[in-house]
């Protein structure tokens, strides 16, 4: 697994917006293709040396947003600032930004060295300097012996590294990566993730990565922007996104979540009680929620935040326990995933760690079990 850039709390600039200037500033950007609204009123601040992931499904507008940052598309409205300069109307060849393409887009008629040198030649650098820089980049991506090869003589992973080296050649202030690991197989992806983060850390370049793979986003990113239908659904650190989703969309898009409807019965500053017919019990939440009595809302909980037992656990407030019949068990080695049918017909997924080897006493099919959870294990969602 890749290691995230280790940032102390005080080096997370997005946590102190008053004293830190954003490096990339996207303000109210919209993009229309004909009648189709690809990106709708997106505002986003990205700070220096961040590895920011734009995460979303296909058609969520994440690639369009990236292409606007690169300059291949012009926003229909709104502005894009990079390092304090308005870039909205600047053509791609005049931006201090480079991009790594999903298809890698290596020039097929040029060797690896020529590919990497292309951007440097456009800058009119002296030959000796170009050669030195190319050698340095080939060493960075560990392709020293491949400089004379043509792209079609390289493997997928090698091409990916050439594309990265070419995009880094001009020492861009900002590197845009479009599905950088999308074309690699699983094992190679994991290795490459690690290398990518290492390179990003050592060069201190700001990375903006577009991906549809949430695992990739979680492992790579300092922050993630979740996109849905052209809008930013949530921006936050990976743990925020996973543990404290702000909407039903984010809760169900990232990881898996059980989601139930409920009605607020008690609304106190210190706790909230929600009655859920679907769940067949009350939900006691140990913190205040911005809601009104009798309001309809949703409650989401991750499968690993719940506990299965044969005995009915007690709860001081007579809540947070429900029961059902085990319908399906998926044994995944480290964990087992249980699908439990509640009396209401609602199906809940619970995962349990297999901490005992070959446990003969494990919960099995068709058993009646109790499901319980902590007072702040779930997320209350109003949208």
């Amino acid at each position: 697994m890749a290691k995230k850039p280790q940032l102390a709390i005080d080096t997370r600039p997005w946590r102190d917006t008053a004293n830190n200037k954003p490096f990339v500033r996207i303000r109210n950007v919209s993009k229309k293709f004909g009648d189709v609204l690809a990106v709708h009123d997106v505002s986003l601040d990205i700070y220096k040396s961040e590895l920011f992931c734009l995460l979303g499904g296909s058609g969520s507008g994440k690639s369009t947003l990236l292409r606007m940052l690169a300059g291949f598309e012009t926003p229909t409205s709104g502005t894009i600032e990079i390092d304090g300069q308005d870039m909205t109307e600047v053509p791609p060849y005049a931006r201090p930004v480079n991009m790594m393409f999903q298809s890698y887009a290596l020039f097929p008629h040029m060797s690896v060295e020529q590919n990497i040198a292309y951007g440097l030649k456009r800058d009119g650098l002296p030959k000796a300097e170009i050669a030195a820089r190319v050698a340095e980049l080939l060493a960075l991506v560990k392709l020293q012996d491949y400089g004379k090869r043509k792209p079609h003589q390289l493997s997928g992973g090698q091409r990916q590294r050439v594309a990265l080296a070419r995009a880094l050649a001009k020492r861009p202030k900002l590197l845009l990566l479009d599905e950088p690991l999308g074309a690699l197989d699983k094992k190679l992806r994991e290795e490459t993730q690690f290398e990518l983060v290492k390179i990003q850390e050592s060069l201190g370049v700001t990375f903006i990565v577009v991906t549809h793979d949430q695992e990739e986003a979680m492992t790579l990113a300092t922050r993630i922007g979740v996109m849905n239908q052209g809008e930013i659904a949530m921006v936050g650190e990976p743990t925020d996104i996973y543990e404290f989703p702000n909407s039903r969309f984010v809760a169900s898009f990232i990881g898996s979540a059980n989601m139930v409807e409920g009605i607020v019965t008690e609304d106190e500053p210190g706790h909230v009680r929600i009655r859920s017919a679907e769940l067949g019990c009350d939900i006691y939440v140990a913190h205040g929620v911005d809601c009104a009595p009798d309001q309809l809302l949703w409650w989401a909980i991750r499968p690993e935040k719940m506990v299965l037992s044969r005995e009915k656990p007690t709860h001081p407030h007579g809540a947070n326990v429900t029961s059902g019949i085990v319908e399906e068990i998926a044994y995944l080695g480290d964990i087992s995933l249980y699908q439990v049918a509640l009396d209401s017909g609602k199906r809940i997924r619970v995962s349990q760690t297999n901490s005992v080897r070959g446990n003969p006493d494990a919960i099995t099919w068709e058993e009646r079990v109790y499901i319980s959870w902590g007072d702040s294990s779930g997320s209350v969602l109003t949208v």
């Binding site: 298809s103 008629h109 079609h152 001009k170």
Partner: protein
Amino acid sequence: MRRGWFLPIAASLGFAFLYAPIVSLVIFSFNESSLVTVWSGFSTKWYGALFSDPQLLGAAWLSLQIAALAASIALVLGTLAAVALVRFRRFRGRTLFSGMVSAPLVMPDVITGLSLLLLFVAMEGLLGWPQGRGMVTIVIAHATFCTAYVCVVVQSRLSDFDRSLEEAAMDLGASPVRTFFDITLPIIAPALVSGWLLGFTLSLDDLVIASFVSGPGSSTLPMVIFSKVRLGVSPDVNALATIIIGIVALGVLGATILQLRSKPKSSGA
């Protein structure tokens, strides 16, 4: 293997059907006799006679010039048409344009020739240009149908073209013009060359259209051969035909090789 004998025989018969006439023509071009159908010994004298026939040589030179010019004009126009069709997916009249560009591929030569002749005559009457008919009108006529072929060849190459290559070049600091010459042109070059060769060969071949739009003193090679043959086949025509076959074969071979080379190579190193 019951079919072991069938395929080779079928293939030989097929090839014989296609190439026996050409082979016999080549053989008879080395015939000593002045009677075309009677073999009387090996000789290259007809090639000698050919090169001392100013009418034939003049026609050959004219044909080569016309073919080169027409192919070059067609290359520019056909490439522009292909770019318009591939790069601009939606514009008013695209379907009509696409159909019109490829119409000359299926139009009978007689009709193309006749309509061009009528056009040239009318233009001369109205505009005073082109004055009379000759090399210029043949070049224009050939360029029109060669454009269709070039367009088809370049179009197929362009539609395989990964646009992100151009974007990558611009991203690395190349202006659009620079990008065209550094990236687009080298990658579609094989298609351009094979399109040009195709146009060149087609122009060299054409008898019907040229007959309509040529004027006095501007007989192309196929026209001269055709008129000679009508008065009785003389063996020097065999020699000439052999040379033309050689040139055309080289052209087609070159175009094919370039087409194959331009295909993206399979991956894996």
